[in-house]
Symmetry: C2
Amino acid sequence: MTQLRLALAQVNPTVGDLAGNAALVRAWSRRAADAGAHLVAFPEMVLTGYPVEDLALRTSFVDASRAAVARLAAALAGDGLGDLPVVVGYLDRVDRDGDGQGDNVAPAVRVGVPKGEPQNCAAICVGGRVLARYAKHHLPNYGVFDEFRIFVPGRDLTVARVRGVDVAIAICEDLWQEGGPVALTRAAGAELLLVLNGSPYERDKDDVRRELVTRRAGQAGCALAYVNLVGGQDDLVFDGDSIVVAADGQVLARAPQFDEHLLTVDLDLPPEATHADPPVVDGVRHVVISPDPVPRYSPDPALQAPATIADPRDGEAEVYRALVVGLRDYVRKNGFRSVVLGLSGGIDSTLVAAIACDALGAQNVVGVSMPSEYSSEHSKDDAADLASRTGLDYRVVPIEPMVASFLTALGLTGLAEENLQARVRGVVLMGLSNQEGHLTLTTGNKSELAVGYTTIYGDSVGGFNPIKDVPKTDVWALSRWRNAEAVHRGEKPPIPEPCIAKAPSAELRPGQLDQDSLPPYDLLDAVLERYVEGAHGRSELLADGFDAATLDGVVTMVDRAEWKRRQSAPGPKVSPVAFGRDRRLPITSRWREHES
Amino acid sequence: MTQLRLALAQVNPTVGDLAGNAALVRAWSRRAADAGAHLVAFPEMVLTGYPVEDLALRTSFVDASRAAVARLAAALAGDGLGDLPVVVGYLDRVDRDGDGQGDNVAPAVRVGVPKGEPQNCAAICVGGRVLARYAKHHLPNYGVFDEFRIFVPGRDLTVARVRGVDVAIAICEDLWQEGGPVALTRAAGAELLLVLNGSPYERDKDDVRRELVTRRAGQAGCALAYVNLVGGQDDLVFDGDSIVVAADGQVLARAPQFDEHLLTVDLDLPPEATHADPPVVDGVRHVVISPDPVPRYSPDPALQAPATIADPRDGEAEVYRALVVGLRDYVRKNGFRSVVLGLSGGIDSTLVAAIACDALGAQNVVGVSMPSEYSSEHSKDDAADLASRTGLDYRVVPIEPMVASFLTALGLTGLAEENLQARVRGVVLMGLSNQEGHLTLTTGNKSELAVGYTTIYGDSVGGFNPIKDVPKTDVWALSRWRNAEAVHRGEKPPIPEPCIAKAPSAELRPGQLDQDSLPPYDLLDAVLERYVEGAHGRSELLADGFDAATLDGVVTMVDRAEWKRRQSAPGPKVSPVAFGRDRRLPITSRWREHES
């Protein structure tokens, strides 16, 4: 058997921070070398951050990425790491002149071809330079992805011989499609398929991923190593979950979700292919980095610890962590240190406050109670209780004087008066944000956002919404889970029980309850899951067992609220279909399911 | 020579309104028949409206479109129009069973293939049924287009023999690409290439279009007829500009921009090819509708009027009309009848008020002056003067009491106090909108939006922004043009001269001028055009002649304001690159041009 010590660096870069991301690669490459690795791999587009969206269409950015990867390769050699092949994702340009490198000159703009012909690439840095590169073949252009818009697809597979082991390289979507790189890897007789990923989290994706790498390892006929990003980027959260499987699908190593981690594993690979000349296969480019296998392998015993095989998180633990990481990184990467949010005593703002305290520390969370004449005593008490449980910075700003000043000037009534209260609260929060420098959080759950049960420029005010993609029923489940977790850890539960138990109300008029305007939340969320995530039509919804009046009402509310969602704050995607770029619908539309 | 009387129906459908759009097709087909047409063509996706975005991924919507086109074909026959071939764009599904029709059953979801395998199609309705169809080959996936996301590309060209004339059919992007349908049209020996379009307006696109149809007619070796939509749809405006050219590029007919129009033209086609059997060409499907040429043609002399050859609009006239149509249709198609906006006396809100009066009638425009202690007398006077010139519904709501109530509660200062005034105005406008049912308009120009010189949830409040894509220098130019146009028509100019002449100010603190914070607008707009529309990097901007301090300042402001733009209202695209889906950038990004 041949051995290869592989290291996967599951790291958290920042979009556009070429210098910072290069420093991250150098630091983790040093850790990999210290761990005795023969090869270290970083995730998709680690050098630029991911996704870069239309930054890829700026030739200045493509050129900067190309210069940065060359500088990085030199710097790694300067760090004494020139012998360690380092595989990094970056942004390059099409190789038209066939020299194996991206071209220096951006071609003229042609209709339908991404400006500057950018490619989503992997570079093998070794010996102070980029020895070889690979361009992603399959460009996802569905869900949250727009890669056909911004990249030119690659055509060839790159196979690098490292310590006598043939390593094929692929990038993310290449693994989700049957043809192309996976089939070429088998044809080329490679012994390891190394896949660089920028695979965003959604609930239970770890299960799908596990099944996929097993299946593709079988199809490629070799071991498969999958390295993924961690961290938040706008409306996406990357959960890592990097994994290595043998050709038979056995899990050899798996990194913990959501945390940076260096996953090292000793691969025992079949010897027979190792020294043979590789087969000549059309579309496969071979490069030899180090032809000789690792000598009879006897490393420092201290390095012989078994590989990590982390258990993925599950259920609420997984989603909660995604929300914390998504918020933490949005705040940190955008240069904020603190947040402000309104605390109504309701479960949505209460859960968001708990998430914010976990993400940023309670000392960086300002919670503002803004009671009106319709606010109940229990709401005010619950908000205060939350503050004392968590230790967040608690303020009380009664809104009656401001509301009265508008009513005097405008004489608003009914819904206009209800919305006015929410908007006065929005002005208060933004005032504190501007005065003190906090990021404002908005706290509308996915169910509210779906049916438009929000006041635009009112409770929707804010730069980020941690629970944008969390249905109301999951808001309760996450709250219960967070409290149970606290008990489990021997800590005080952050969320007052009445916040979970009481009937939801916007408290914008006397005795108002959400259920006066909406179906019960368990029913509403069941319809929404099928209509929004499943894109079920009316006949399918009827077949799902919903009664016509309920489903027609819900569907109509969803369709009519599109204009509000267009102006809503981003928030972390945790479901298969989040609002935003994951679901793009016209505002102006007369399509109604019940008229079909 | 063979004659064919062709009618192009340049109409304004509504997205999702299958029944209404079918009625539109029937009414205009009747007009075409009354005009003696042998063939009538409607624009791309006329039956569903365009663009439908992710509605295409709902199988219920695909099925509804398929049912609607079948009903339409039958209804046309019922109308006595069964002999008139009617070509309509609609949404269909891939034809896997090869029967020439889209399949009835939606296939299972596969990674990377649009759900339900929808296609952007053209149907030839004749004799009460869909006789043949064509699926668009080239799917634009750049700029505002996401068609690779939502459609499966077609593979074959359809050529229909109508009155002995072979007519090839193509759809929009098929014309912008060299290969595919244009080349197949030549190979098939067709005598007319009929192109259905959903081609959104941008300034001077009419010139590009004219050049394109001429070039492609030459490449296809036959006459070319181009029929386009008119009307507004969210952030797009379609300008029509339908056009027919001979094989040598001579313009035979051209419809006026922005208005619904039936463009009829008698085509004199070379006789030699007409009766030959068409060549057998791989990928070309022939269908015969009516083999015999039109008999020695002697129509009713009343019908022999020469074809319309409209002069396209130019410069400000063209852009102004696009803004009026974009606003009019957003209001109308979303079920509103009136709008409300704040009138500061500044040029932005003044121009928007003029546009709104032109689009909706002054009686449907509510203008609210909301003076603060920092508002100048001339601002109040100019707002009142605008109201009296146009006759809009004018209100005055001083904001000092509301501002004072917040200042008492929160003690805001500096920028927070400035923003507070803008937000109080936003609350006033939304209160009136909720109370009285008006759509709120926001009036920030493209220059402000670019550099973030706006108060989010303040002056940015509103459902639609007519001048979102209009730089400040063009705001002045359009205002001057509108006044000159009034003089030209012998009407009173709507815009008070001081609004155009005075130095711009937000009037949020004493003596404040825009130029205290920003470069002069002519310089700012010049940088923005190259940075935003041209995607120039720093070295290109330096080569453009801008000094480093100015361009670095502007570029940094633009990059940092992305989060505000994400929550901004839609507005009509009139430039090559509008903010919104035309330019998709991360909020979280540390990329700075000056650090590259």
